[in-house]
Symmetry: C2
């Protein structure tokens, strides 16, 4: 991530590369411009084919601004490893990142239930089939938004490699390599009111297995 020149060399331009990055993460950073200033907020998201689904509260002023068609950029980053080079200068990180640029649109309230189901299933695979559908009251409190993925509207950058070899042999001889990082799920922790005999549902087992 250190050198833009190198980042450029690591750009990926195939659409499946974009989908792979987007589908591997659950949270991204949404950026827009408010009164000429950059405005950012972390958000859970789900990919639905050629669009990113986001949601917030209908009471959130800034989100309403974004939903009303303001330009937006959505950034997703996965930190995959720490790259330990022979020099401080060449030390960096292995990562996958995606940026989607476009204009958010509000999802029609009639489709908000679909969006909420999708968000839940992206976070907790299959959860939408285990509990009741969202109520009208819940849906009316939800601002569901879509950011379209347009052909020229995205970039993907990936670094997945050992450190660069030392340019100067005098810098070599020591250890260099990569410390891989990954996200793991711990044992599910029951809410205080859930008795011990209630079984953990399949969706949660899937979530734990996936991570």
């Amino acid at each position: 991530m250190k050198q833009i020149r190198r980042e450029r060399e690591r750009a990926r331009t195939d659409r499946p590369d974009l989908d792979a990055v987007l589908d591997a993460a659950a949270v991204g950073t949404l950026a827009t411009v408010l009164d000429g200033q950059p405005w950012v907020v972390p958000m859970l998201y789900a990919r639905d084919g050629d669009r990113i689904i986001l949601h917030g509260s209908t009471g959130a002023g800034a989100l309403r601004h974004v939903a009303a068609g303001a330009p937006a950029a959505f950034c997703v980053t996965l930190l995959d490893g720490i790259v330990v080079a022979d020099t401080l200068f060449d030390s960096t990180a292995n990562y996958r990142s995606a940026v989607i640029r476009g204009h958010l649109t509000v999802i029609d309230p009639a489709d908000a239930a679909y969006a909420l189901d999708l968000m839940s299933d992206a976070l907790i695979p299959g959860r939408s089939s285990e509990v009741r559908s969202s109520t009208k009251k819940e849906l009316s409190a939800t601002l569901a938004m879509a950011l379209p993925i347009e052909p020229e509207g995205w970039t993907v950058k990936v670094r997945d490699a050992p450190p660069d070899p030392p340019e100067d042999a005098a810098d070599g001889g020591g250890w260099a390599g990569v410390v891989p990082l990954r996200t793991v799920a711990g044992d599910p922790v029951s809410a205080p009111w859930v008795s011990a005999e209630v079984e953990v549902p399949k969706s949660v087992h899937r979530l734990v297995e996936r991570t």
Copy 2:
């Protein structure tokens, strides 16, 4: 992250809360405004007291724009758990996030070595004492930047709780709880040219222990 109203309730306003979030992560999303459009890039960073240190290549046009005093927002997010509620609507995530707003400044080239050391040590604890200092050539290729942390220039939001209990008793009775997530380091992978007898340095052991 779903409901801004709730996020507000989870805001943390003590400076140590900010430092704890910033010091727990290694990568954030830098946002600025370029030609009226939001522009974002993931970046490694380090906290240095009351400022965030970032660095890029001096060849990167957009970064130079940011460094020249354009307004910036830097967002750090740690996803700590998936919150499985009795309803889709109440399902969400446990997380820690910080946003720093301000104007980036370029760090004087004379201090760039300090910034590079700091970045390396934030990523790989103690690494700067194991390898040589950066050369003039390396430093001249590095654009070191600082984003000051000003008293009114940051927000921290944290959710660290079980799901909300069901509002309607009819929704209860099933399992609800949290699936904790954490980042773990795998075994260090040596670069192809490093022979098996070269020992992994202390800094890398520290990095693995910390994560």
